[in-house]
């Protein structure tokens, strides 16, 4: 029964992909906004979480504005999917430079240009994080933790069609620190989304003024390996136009108080994430349960 369902999902996805492939960019974006809006209408639980997160963060406290922002964020998420499927068209060769503006701190650029240095790049579910990874992989190979699709047929299909360039996914179930240390040892970029709820082993860290359980991996890897660390975000400027920005390098030496070190690093990372979200709040994935 399960394999039949997987086959059906796979065939439906292939049909959808063939349809999207025929669409113009403008048409694909209109479709994404429509589907995102529809999904927002149907998924009541996600809608409620998104609305509560927006109000709880203080980004938008007025009810009707919070509802509107929640819907826009759902549309944005659908647009990310379309952009990922269409990204091969703009990431081919050197064309990406016409579509992606770089605002990279000079000290981060020095690390990217140095084949002998690794980089830990922290980000959140803001803008188009997949695009960020693909663009960064033009400088150095990038490894990031990804969740596998439940349907193996769909997983394989997406693996074939989505351009990766030098991005190497590390399956979430296999993302132990020795795998991550191996990435740093190869002087590659380790890209980590640090705004996911930490179900176990996390530390409560303030995010928009409220404690949120946070995985400490990015901070701990920086503290124990001294690998340069920065924040990065890739905002959408327009249809298939993006800006990839980074913070300057964050250099925090261990003080002997581990918890305090981790908190200090995340205070900086979260301040950068909050800043980009405040500038473009509709480009954040408000629907994930960050505060539980």
């Amino acid at each position: 029964m399960k394999s039949l369902r997987h086959l059906l999902e796979y065939q439906l996805l292939r049909l959808a992909l063939a349809f999207i492939d025929k669409l113009s960019l403008d048409g694909a974006y209109r479709l994404a906004r429509g589907l995102g809006g529809l999904w927002w209408q149907i998924d009541r639980d996600r809608r409620r979480v998104s609305y509560e997160n927006i109000r709880g963060s203080g980004i938008e406290t007025e009810s009707s504005r919070a509802i509107l922002l929640s819907r826009k964020a759902a549309e944005h998420f659908a647009m990310i999917v379309i952009e990922s499927l269409k990204s091969a068209e703009i990431l081919d060769g050197d064309h990406w430079r016409e579509h992606v503006r770089l605002d990279i701190s000079p000290d981060v650029m020095a690390v990217l240009d140095d084949p002998g240095r690794a980089l830990i790049m922290a980000s959140g579910h803001f803008g188009n994080w997949e695009m960020a990874a693909q663009v960064l992989s033009r400088f150095k190979p990038v490894a990031g933790i990804t969740r596998r699709m439940n349907n193996p047929r769909v997983e394989e299909l997406l693996r074939q069609i989505k351009p990766r360039y030098r991005f190497h996914p590390i399956p979430k179930y296999d993302a132990d620190p020795t795998r991550l240390l191996a990435v740093l040892e190869k002087h590659e970029i380790l890209a980590l989304l640090t705004d996911q709820h930490a179900s176990s082993g996390g530390v409560p860290i303030e995010f928009f003024g409220r404690p949120a359980a946070t995985y400490t991996t990015a901070a701990m890897l920086h503290l124990v390996t001294r690998t340069p660390l920065c924040f990065a975000a890739c905002r959408r400027l327009g249809p298939m136009r993006f800006e990839l920005e980074t913070s300057p390098l964050i250099d925090h030496r261990p003080s002997g108080d581990k918890r305090s070190d981790v908190r200090a690093i995340f205070a900086t990372l979260n301040a950068h994430l909050e800043d980009v979200i405040r500038r473009d709040p509709d480009q954040y994935a408000w629907g994930h349960r960050r505060w539980r």
Binding site: L181, A182, L223, V224
Partner: protein, 81 residues
């Protein structure tokens, strides 16, 4: 520093950072990291504490294949502990 002194310091680090009840004095060079209930995340905590106590920052490549406390001790000795 002798191997036993290094192991002794490692015991102290583990005793202080672990919430687990066990006879820490029984730990020796052959004790595997895995048997101590140190999961993949807390290995980073252990490396942090080693850095603080011994003043030695281990390289990523050095710690990837470590299995036992004795191997950590040997590594630390090699690095001047």
């Amino acid at each position: 520093m002798s191997d036993e002194s290094i192991i002794s310091k490692l015991r102290d680090i583990l005793r202080e950072s672990s919430a687990e009840e066990r006879d820490w004095n029984r730990l020796d060079g052959g004790t595997t990291i895995q048997s101590l209930g140190i999961d993949s995340l807390t290995i980073l905590d252990l490396l942090y504490d080693i850095d603080q106590v011994f003043g030695i920052t281990l390289e990523a490549a050095e710690v990837i294949d470590i299995v036992t406390l004795g191997e950590i001790a040997a590594l630390l000795k090699q690095r001047g502990a």
